[in-house]
């Protein structure tokens, strides 16, 4: 039997070629691919809540509803004047400005820089934050000068029966 050439010619079993069960690699190629695909699946599934949130936003379901709140009477606010109020919470100070006979704008008046109160300068026709001289456009609430970079949160107002009501807060969109 010694003339038979049935010896293993050399040590064939190594890391990538192995037929011994106990030397089986813990992670073969297929296991690696399964891990990759599984991780991708986990990430995909775990991102679904963001999709739900996005859908809520797109469908307007994320808008908070606040009970409408009376700010002032139309008679007590002359054109070009402003008045302070708080909306939606008692600590969310806000400002209402009457720009014309029928046009009112209202903003939460904490400056978007460092939350100093923003005032309405009637003779200059702009909103000014006294702390660092930030200025805001009264029509839109966008910053026009100084350190603030974000617009003031706008408050929707409605005129009913000779009184001005705050009905909601415009969502901030970067």
């Amino acid at each position: 039997m010694t003339d038979k050439n049935n010896k293993i010619p050399f040590e064939e079993d190594n890391y990538t070629h192995n037929i011994n069960r106990n030397n089986e690699r813990k992670l073969d190629r297929r296991g690696f691919m399964k891990t990759l695909v599984g991780a991708a699946g986990v990430f995909a599934v775990s991102s679904l809540p963001w999709g739900v949130l996005a859908a809520k936003e797109l469908n307007g379901l994320g808008d908070k509803k606040y009970p409408k709140q009376k700010i002032t009477d139309v008679k007590s606010l002359a054109v070009g004047d402003s008045t302070d109020f708080a909306f939606p919470g008692e600590h969310d100070s806000a400002i209402l400005i009457r720009l014309s006979e029928s046009k009112y704008v209202a903003y939460q008046n904490a400056c978007t820089h460092l939350r100093c109160p923003v005032f309405w300068k009637k003779d200059e026709g702009e909103m000014i934050c006294p702390c660092h001289h930030g200025k805001f456009d009264v029509e839109t609430g966008t910053p026009t000068a100084g350190p603030p970079r974000r617009p003031l949160p706008e408050i929707y107002v409605k005129v009913e029966n000779g009184a001005v009501y705050a009905v909601g807060v415009k969502r901030y969109e970067a």
């Binding site: 038979k4 049935n6 293993i8 037929i19 089986e24």
Partner: protein, 185 residues
């Protein structure tokens, strides 16, 4: 207590119990993985069982491009791993005994794995359990040596598994008339 499968071929009576047992064994899906051959067909009625001999250096596993055939720590050569086998049938060609069978439907090789779920716990494989004529036995090394000492051949011809292709974990008793001259398989 390591035991081996031992085939005492001249005991075989051709009852095919081993085939039936293999067929009905759990996990075999109604397919047997061993064979019963006529030794001299149309000459006499002598039969012999043959199952995988579980080579120490198995040609089937060596030929497998996907390394789907693995050698268990007990020495048993396992059936093709379902998740690895690519159905190339290299093993069926490589095996000198023609043991691996091929399932064309599943595109999968299947072969005797010495009932590894049983033998790994020291329980004899199904075929050995049912063999009524003591052809297929489950013996320790000492018992196999004792078998050899029963034969007083003064020509040192009594061998187990030596005229075969290589060393096997299953020992075969080769009847005297067949030693060395006639190849069985």
């Amino acid at each position: 207590m390591k035991k081996r499968l031992y085939l005492e071929l001249e005991n075989c009576i051709g009852c095919r119990s081993c085939l039936a047992a293999c067929t009905q064994c759990g996990g075999h899906e109604e397919r047997n993985r061993n064979y019963v051959y006529d030794v001299n067909p149309l000459v006499n009625r002598q039969t012999m069982p043959l199952m995988c001999l579980h080579c120490v250096n198995p040609a089937c596993a060596r030929s497998c491009p996907a390394q789907a055939i693995q050698i268990h720590e007990t020495g048993a050569v396992l059936s093709a791993l379902v998740e690895k086998c690519i159905g190339c049938q290299n093993c069926t060609i490589a095996c000198p005994y023609g043991i691996p069978k091929f399932d064309t439907e599943q595109n999968l090789m299947y072969k005797c794995d010495l009932c590894i779920d049983r033998t790994k716990d020291g329980i004899p494989p199904m075929c050995a359990s049912v063999c009524p004529s003591n052809t297929i036995q489950w013996l320790t090394e000492e018992e196999i040596d004792a078998k050899q000492s029963q034969f007083n051949l003064d020509n040192d011809k009594w061998v187990t598994s030596m005229p075969l292709e290589g060393e096997t974990n299953v020992r075969v008793n080769l009847p005297g008339i067949l030693q060395g001259v006639t190849k069985l398989f």
